[in-house]
Structure formats: structure tokens, C-alpha cells
């Protein structure tokens, strides 16, 4: 009984994490695509990304939408969470490097998030990285349980 309640809460938490990520990525992708020329210029202003402006400017919103789709489809939820985790870690590393080692600090985020300072942005990102990690652990636990029940059901 305790296990069941626990797993119920875990499932709610998992769905909530996925929902947050879908919201974040769809919003982020849309706010980039709606002002695509501006986004491209902002990417170009970052010395680190200047050589790959065209690839990066298209790849980021594309990846964000793709990951949101993966998170919607139950079969690919774990894959989606892993991809989200990786993208968020990369973004956090980028912010950290820009803040500490780069001379120029350009901002390329859109919408409401644009109002965040860089330090707040870093905390925001780390929070999302942790959420993704929690999501992955829960989802993997569920998969394991399903696998065990399936095995017993078969035998």
C-alpha cells in the first residue's frame, strides 16, 4: 500500500516535470522562431557561436521542439528526459563559461527569460537540470517495475 501511494506521487511528479519541460521548450522555441532574424543576430554576437551561426540558430529551436515531442509520447519519455538533461547541461555550461571566461556577455534568450540576470539564469538552469535528473530516475524506476511485472505476468 505504501509503495502504491509512493509510486502514485512519483508518477504525478514525473508528469509535472515533463509538463514543465514541454512548456519551457515550446515557449523557448516559439520565442526564437517568431523573431528569427533577431535570434540569429544574437547568436552571431556570441564569439563562441559566430562560426556556426546558421547551424546553431536552426538546431536549437528544432531540438527544443523535438524534445518536447519525445516527452509527449509515452514510449519516448525516458529518451526525451535524457535529451532534455543533456541540452540543459550544455546550456548551463555555456552560461557558466560565458560568465567566467569570456570577455563579452551577449544574451540570446527570448521572452520572459530575457529579463533574468545571468546569475538568476544559472540558478534557473541548474534547477531544470536537477528536475530532469529526478525525472529520469523516476521514469527508469517505473520501467524496471513494469519489466518485472511483465516478466511475472508472462510466467
Amino acid at each position: 500500500m505504501v509503495m502504491k501511494i509512493n509510486s502514485k506521487y512519483k508518477n504525478i511528479l514525473l508528469e509535472f516535470i515533463c509538463f514543465l519541460y514541454i512548456l519551457l521548450f515550446v515557449y523557448a522555441a516559439m520565442s526564437k522562431l517568431l523573431v528569427f532574424d533577431e535570434f540569429k543576430i544574437q547568436i552571431g554576437q556570441s564569439a563562441m557561436l559566430t562560426p556556426f551561426v546558421n547551424i546553431v540558430a536552426w538546431a536549437i529551436p528544432f531540438l527544443e521542439i523535438l524534445i518536447a515531442l519525445l516527452l509527449i509520447i509515452p514510449r519516448f519519455k525516458l529518451l526525451g528526459l535524457l535529451a532534455a538533461f543533456n541540452l540543459m547541461v550544455m546550456f548551463t555550461a555555456y552560461i557558466f563559461i560565458i560568465l567566467n571566461f569570456s570577455n563579452d556577455v551577449p544574451c540570446s534568450c527570448g521572452g520572459v527569460i530575457e529579463k533574468l540576470g545571468w546569475a538568476e539564469h544559472l540558478i534557473f538552469n541548474i534547477a531544470f537540470v536537477v528536475l530532469a535528473a529526478v525525472g529520469i530516475l523516476i521514469k527508469n524506476g517505473q520501467n524496471n517495475n513494469d519489466y518485472i511485472t511483465q516478466k511475472y505476468a508472462l510466467s
Binding site: 523573431v35 552571431g44 554576437q45 527508469n140
Partner: protein, 401 residues
Amino acid sequence: MIQKKLYILLFICTIGSIGFISLLFAFTNKGPERDMSFKRGFLYDAPKKIHELDLEYNGYQIAGAAEGQIYLSNPKSPLYLTVVDTALQSKREVHITMDQDSLPLRSPQLRVIPPYFFLMDGTIPYILRGKTRDWKAHSILNNPLYFSTAQPMDSVTIAIRTTSSKTNEFALGTIRLSDTAKMILSHKLLQKQVDGLFDVDGTLQYSQQRQELIYTYRYRNQYIMADDSLQLQHLGKTIDTISQAQIQVGTIASKNQQKLAKPPLMVNKYSTVSENYLFVNSQLLGKTESIELWKKSSVIDVYDLVKNRYEFSFYVADIEKHKLKTFYVLHDKFIGLVGNHIITYQLDNRFKVAQTIANLPTDRLIKHQNKKTIIYKSQTQKNNTRLPVKHTAVRVKTENL
């Protein structure tokens, strides 16, 4: 997947992602641009830092300096001036009063050229002028003339840079503040290379000594010298070889805005003029210069505006990892703002010309100069004449000979 395996996977993902971004940074971070075509000259007896003062605020700008006083303005509260002496020992505040109740704030610029001071904002626009005797500012611009950067030339003429309505590009000009303020523009001084806005950006200065406007381009190796009637006198070259602005401009159609689409190659970040010398903070590393030193200091190149040639360079050290921001030269003192600090460097004797002594008020002359000045004092007392300071000084000299 087993829990343990999952932890390993997450760990690998984290390391991989961080590693990928770090590698990207390592490959794209080229460090300072090195230009192999020129070599800076550093004096054996280089200018040394003589004073430093923590202002506990990093938003100051140097509004001017004269008679042993440095005037610092704060664009966030332009009516409060901080005044520091050149020895950086004392600090006091000056409150500017106005003939109007409030002042719109967008990008106020303050200039103190005793006996006058100017409070200007070309985006609103307004120009207030007052005397440093009582710090009371009066509005003196009665026509809406817009400008982006300004330097007072005398009490009624302001040198400006503005967007020309004719070309939609930047142009240099002057505003004459008479009953009906008039703007005169020259479309010939700034030479367009890319878009006529970003590529012609630079620092506008006015030399009282030479009665000339000096405009140093930010993205190319040139400075313009023009007289009061905006006639080109000389087109000077800074020591590097970047004659074409290396910038790329992108348009944001939805906002009708233009922005730099990639980091520009900055050549001359900031410059100032003092008497016959131009001081430029260059961003290009020359041949045989140490990268280590470059990373923890800013370089100042000094040009002689009479001979139109490069003289020498010196380094201004960073403070707490902050680089030199803006600077001003008063005779033989180089004054700079570095992070929260104000610093002064001692320049050599060539910057301490006779004329500068003549311009100083009497009491300072007595304090700083030798016997000659004491004679000068007794002379003036005896004759009890009130000749202009400059003339008296010259006369004393000849008598001593």
C-alpha cells in the same frame, strides 16, 4: 536499466555535455588579435601609477578636469557631481541646480570646462549650461536639435555627432547656441565603409589648444582632425593596419533595427586629447608584445598631433580584473577609471609645457613653482595691475632672462 548503470549514464552525459561546450569554447576563443605589422615603443622610464582611490562605484564618467580638480559625473544621477583633487586625497559632492523642476533622463552627458559646465542629452534633446562658480544650470537649447555625442568647443558652440536626416548616416557637426540654435553638419568628414553608422563609430574630442575637433574611429586605424568650421585639417593614422572596418551589420526587420551581427574587430576603443597629444586605448596586440601583460592591462598609444606621428605607448594595469574604462589627460597627469577605482599616472616632462603653467591660477603657481613665481607674485603686488595671468607669466620669464 539497473539504477547503478543509470547513474553512470547520467554522469557520462554530464561530462560529455560540459566537455563538448568547453571544447567549443577552447577552439573559438582566439584571445587578443595580434597584428604582426607594427611594433609599439615603450619608454624605459614608463609612466607610473602615482595615486589610486576607491570610489566604491563603477558608473562614474570623467566630465572634465582642470585646476587640480577632477569632475566625475554619474549618468544615473547627473545633478550630483563628485569632485576629487588630482592627488586623489579628498572627495566632495557638488549639487547642480536648474531653472526647471525636473529633467528627463535618457543618456545625459556632463562636461566641465571651467568656468562653464554643460549638461546635455541629445536624445531628448536639451543642453543646459552654467558656471562652476555657483553650479546653476540654465537651458540654452531652444530648438529641438538631436545629437548622439557632444563636446563643448566654447561657451556657445558644441561639437556633435548626429544622424543626418539627409543620408540617415552619422555626420559630424556643430551647434551654435544663439537666439535660434543652429546645427551645421559636414557630410565629408566621416567616411562610410559599411553602413555609415556602425562602421564610423568613434570618440569625439575637442582640443582647446589646437581649436580642432579630433574624432578617432573605433573600427579602423584613423583619426580625423577638423577645424572649427568643419574643414578637414588632417587624416591621421593609428599604428595598426586595419584601414577597413571589419564589422558585419544585420537587420531585424520586425523591429526595424540594425545590429552588429558578429563581434566586431575593435581597433581604438576610446581616446582623449590633451593639448597637442592624442591618447588612444588600442585593442590590437602588436609584434613582440607579451600576451600575459596584455591580459592584465590596457595599452595607451600616444600620438603627437603637431608632427602627426606615433610617439610611444604605456600600460595601465587592471584593478581586480577590471580593465581601464575611460580616461582623461590633464597636463602631465593621466587620469583613468578602472572598475570602482580612479587612478592617475605621471607622464613625463614633455607634457608639462610652459603654457600649462601660465594657465594655472596664481595660488597654485606659488605652491608648485620655484623662485620665479615668487618674483612674479611680488611683481604683481607691486604693480597692482590685473593683467591676464598668461601675459604676466610671459613677462616674468623675460625679466628673469
